[in-house]
């Protein structure tokens, strides 16, 4: 019985340390999440691999990668076969994480500040922020589209950098690939897989 309770205690402790609890208020959520990421990236005691793993972990927990994958697929998400869609989502997640971690060194010396927010609907809040990449560098305005349907678990769906939506850019890039390949989702999946293997 004692062993069981120790095991249960360890499980609870382990669970709590694995899941990083951020605020459920969109503006606080973004602020805590990004500052946490910047602190980790600037931690000199961690290796690049450890930093990448940490960023992957918080991205998996706090970015709505599934919704992002469906959004970037455009109308094809409605007509694609279930199996193709599943394969696409797996390939997209790997692509997304690879693309995210390849940019880590770009943000390690940044200063981040949430400036404002606007509740667009019951499902979306736009959080406005500014990032100063380095000493004397011009500020970059970044808006975060936060999905708030689940009140206790906000999720990031898009980053709008100086008015340029990363999700829309990705969607239009995929649309171009699909259009020049007769709308074949498997070619897009192959290209995403090739990118992830690079």
């Amino acid at each position: 019985m004692k062993k069981l309770s120790i095991l249960f205690f360890l499980f609870v402790v382990n669970f709590n340390t694995n899941a990083i609890p951020y605020s459920t208020e969109p503006q606080e959520f973004v602020n805590e999440l990004v500052n946490d990421a910047i602190n980790k990236l600037s931690d000199k005691s961690l290796t690049i691999e450890e930093k990448s793993k940490y960023i992957e972990k918080i991205a998996l927990e706090n970015v709505d990668i599934k919704a992002l994958s469906l959004y970037t697929l455009g109308e094809l998400r409605k007509s694609s076969k279930k199996n193709d869609l599943k394969n696409y989502q797996i390939a997209f997640e790997k692509y997304f994480l690879k693309s995210l971690t390849s940019r880590l060194s770009d943000y390690s010396s940044s200063k981040f500040e949430v400036t404002d927010f606007e509740k667009k609907s019951a499902n979306y809040t736009i959080v406005n922020s500014k990032v100063t990449p380095g000493e004397g560098d011009p500020q970059i305005l970044i808006d975060w589209r936060v999905y708030t349907k689940q009140k206790d678990k906000p999720l990031i769906r898009d980053l709008i950098v100086e008015g340029l939506s990363l999700a829309r850019t990705q969607k239009e890039e995929f649309a171009s690939i699909l259009s020049s390949n007769n709308g074949d989702i498997n070619i897009l999946i192959k290209k995403l897989e090739e990118f992830s293997k690079k």
Binding site: G163, T169, E172, F174, S176, I177
Partner: protein, 247 residues
């Protein structure tokens, strides 16, 4: 004389072609195959010429870079004045005129930017944006050699810019304005410096985009079109097409 006639003929033909495609959506291409080839050429041009110059430029002392950036921005403000007026945006006419006058005098020919410190922040406006404000759609998309991405509307705007821009008036057209005149070398030197300044500011962004794009041509097309939309609206509010996502 013959060259001038050929130039006029070329411009007329271009305008007719582009106007006839102006009803197309921006995402539609005028001639994608050619544009992709031109894009490849531009990438080589960037790799061999623009990027190395921009990297060298980034090594210059910060005050020199800031001065060059301020100077080219101040010259560009001259084009914003008539365009803000044509858009009926009197507040922006005031910002652009005030900024140009203060920076050209107190700011030592535009090398410094004291106008910004007193709250004068003029938007960059060109004829393409003015046509967009008047309700002209972007028309189809294509890529110009060296100049890069454009649309039917923006390329007409580019030609009109050279007629409306007071700086082009005194340089390319070699006419006199308030006792000042120049030549085409002055014009292309300033435009070239502005291009290098822009490229140097975006070295990291461009490298990151290049590294993370599956189809760089399409990524840049999307970024160009979004940027133009924002500049016409004078806002960074993006279109909301997430609503129909059934998750």
């Amino acid at each position: 004389m013959i060259i001038k006639r050929i130039k006029n003929l070329f411009i007329s033909a271009l305008i007719i072609t582009l106007v006839s495609t102006a009803g197309l959506k921006a995402s539609e291409e005028c001639f994608e195959g050619i544009s992709r080839s031109v894009f490849k050429f531009n990438m080589v041009f960037d790799d061999i010429i623009l990027e190395p110059i921009a990297k060298g430029y980034n090594k210059l002392p910060e005050p020199i870079k800031a001065g060059a950036g301020n100077f080219t921005s101040n010259v560009a403000t001259l084009l914003s004045i008539p365009n803000s007026l044509l858009q009926g945006n009197i507040k922006q006419v005031g910002h652009a005129t005030g900024s140009f006058l203060i920076n050209s005098t107190v700011g030592i020919l535009g090398i410094l930017n004291p106008a910004e410190k007193i709250g004068l922040k003029p938007h960059r406006e060109d004829v393409g944006q003015t046509l967009g404000k008047y309700g002209f759609g972007p028309g189809c998309y294509f890529v110009l050699p060296v100049l890069g991405p454009t649309t039917a509307r923006d390329s007409i705007g580019l030609i009109a810019d050279s007629l409306l821009d007071p700086f082009a008036h005194v340089t390319i057209q070699e006419k006199e304005l308030f006792g000042m005149s120049g030549n085409s070398v002055d014009y292309f030197s300033v435009k070239g410096t502005a291009a290098v300044d822009f490229r140097s500011d975006n070295i990291t962004n461009f490298e990151s985009l290049e590294k993370n794009s599956i189809d760089l041509y399409s990524s840049l097309k999307s970024i160009y079109l979004q940027d133009r939309e924002n500049k016409i609206k004078n806002s960074t509010d993006t279109q909301d097409d997430w609503g129909n996502l059934d998750n």
